[in-house]
Assembly symmetry: C2
Homo-oligomer: 368 residues x 2
């Protein structure tokens, strides 16, 4: 009869007729153990179905083989995709991922950091606010490595992965301008976010270049179709209504699409539309929606790799200490579909993934 409780290391030692140290050596690589003993111990381990107790290991100062992931929402397709690749990479390193969602509430964010920092080896975080002092400080003082993604952390030297929001927003706006639209309305919520600010900045830059007056509406409320429709209605009722709309994120673009449809406005004939962030079915709508497409999976992959890289360094030789611009910037690309006025292009669904070679790292951006 086997034991009722989980077999421990000393159970194995007893069974194999060796000391606990030897067993410990075996389960940690089997160095400095004779082939014969090794076989005996492995046999005992198999017989008893022994699995090392993680808590005991962690208590001894070992890695917990767990990383934390903090995101505003896991239901958001963008973060869900990130989480998926991150999880995959973590598994490659024998680690699990614990997911915390913050709903963009700074308090919850800090709370999550507290509960994570004592039990994970490192943290991947999509910060709600790039410049929040409490957030930046807390993360900087953590004894475990942290990598940010989606939004950078401005005030501390924490590596991160973002996309060139400024650039791509400017490109998209330029594209709309090339269509001849002059009054382009830029709308979207969460305007306090670094990501959003960058996009607004890119939009504004393009408008200025073209000697057009930037029209930005980042009222706090773009949470539902109704709210967005109400905002739009106001703009459309003006004497010089916008000729095109640039939605700062995918949900805003979707809500705008729905509103325009409800208003009976033909897109792009009566009003054009473009958005930032691709979304499923963007190419199935009629008209299909032109968007800036971020390399979602790349973001997740690279952020996770950065984290495990640090984890590896920590245990071995000291890190390269490449201080300074440790923020990696990936390239988004314009996916031109029909809503901007380009006529039906060939369908480009979200499922047709990003070309690997279309991306790269831009260490420094002369335009910013």
């Amino acid at each position: 009869m086997t034991l009722r409780r989980q077999p421990t290391l000393s159970d194995v030692a007893l069974r194999a007729g060796v000391g606990t140290t030897t067993v410990s050596r075996v389960i940690n690589g089997g160095d400095r153990v004779s082939a014969k003993t090794l076989a005996a111990v492995n046999h005992a381990i198999a017989e008893l179905g022994f699995v090392p107790n993680l808590a005991a290991r962690v208590l001894k100062g070992e890695r917990s083989k767990t990383i934390g992931l903090i995101v505003p929402s896991i239901a958001d397709p963008f973060f869900a995709s990130c989480a998926e690749v991150m999880q995959k990479i973590a598994r490659g390193f024998g680690s699990l991922v614990v997911v915390c969602v913050t709903g963009n509430e700074p308090a919850l964010e800090l709370e999550n950091i507290e509960s994570l920092c004592r039990r994970v080896d490192g943290i991947l975080i999509a910060p709600s606010q790039s410049s929040s002092a409490p957030l930046n400080n807390r993360l900087a003082n953590l004894s475990i490595p942290v990598v940010s993604f989606d939004q950078p952390l401005n005030k501390v030297d924490i590596p991160g992965v973002v996309t060139n929001n400024f650039h791509s927003a400017r490109e998209m706006t330029r594209h709309l301008l090339e269509h001849g639209y002059e009054r382009i309305l830029c709308i979207g919520g969460e305007a306090n976010f670094h990501t959003m600010l960058e996009r607004v900045r890119g939009y504004t830059a393009a408008m200025r270049e073209a000697n057009q007056f930037p029209l930005v509406d980042t009222a706090p409320r773009f949470r539902s179709d109704e709210e967005t429709a109400a905002v739009l209605a106001r703009h459309l009722a003006g004497r010089r209504p916008p000729q095109a709309i640039y939605g700062l994120k995918n949900t805003t673009a979707i809500q705008t699409y729905n509103a325009l449809q409800r208003f009976g406005l033909r897109v792009p004939q009566e009003i054009a539309l473009a958005g930032h962030d691709d979304f499923l079915l963007a190419s199935s709508l009629r008209p299909s929606v032109t968007v800036v497409q971020q390399p979602v999976e790349e973001i997740g992959r690279i952020a996770a790799r950065l984290l495990f890289e640090q984890l590896a360094n920590k245990a071995g030789e000291p890190p390269p200490e490449r201080r300074g611009s440790r923020i990696m910037k990936l390239q988004s690309k314009l996916v031109i579909r029909a809503s901007c006025g380009c006529g039906e292009a060939e369908p480009t669904g979200m499922l047709s993934n990003f070309r690997r070679d279309a991306q790269g790292t831009v260490p420094r951006d002369p335009d910013e």
Copy 2:
């Protein structure tokens, strides 16, 4: 100067001039401690910034305050939404959630169970296969509570939350039949899944009732727009092509939608379409897509509650031992839009959430 290392319980004890037990009592509720001592200890805790070491607690047999979530994919909107609510509820119980994705690979699923079972208090799992013997057995032998969702576990007495797939599929098929369609094609991949089988069963039942010949195509390949288009092309090329299509899951419905559009077939005039599982923008497409809508968040909420209920029981009085049908069955509802031929109904987006009172538990289903 404070200590370099994290302050421990005995650091606090020293600082407060009390024993370690007292500190332990304080951080565990503060019972049987005088108000004065309590204040002193709390003061010391605050001064030192002490946080209990979880690993040590777990080593002593305490809860890890972590639950495991095993899903086929976290990028799938259905599971992502589930995960979001589950995470929320877990937080209410002071627990974190570690997410494992299996890609529907049984081997990975078992592997994930192994790595989780030693470090979490309980497991929420959306099984890839309801009847897999290794899976059922392993889960049944776990020393921690398990709750399944989406798919039930057939062979063991493990509680679970599912929806009435049979019923709703039958209802949807009946609806299509009422439109006068006779040749209704039922398509979709992953037909080995219990969920899918139930839907096929519901479809078949409705067809039989109406003396129509069931047309089921659950070829293994419905992974991309192209594959689905190829499958459809074959069916449409026949002498008596289908008049309506019932997609067994949301991605299948979406792919079918895209294919029909590519073929230039007008929906629903030339061919009708309905799907199982709602999806974002289903109501924004033209025509909007009629679907069976599952109460996603309810599924997640109830599954999580069931788990924590067991966790609570385990610590206190023994569980009610209500063996037998511990599978909860929630009601899906038909969301009739335009693709079935009903003309433009009022828009019903996914964002307009389920009515709470529209759901319930069906302990036993006389029709099955």
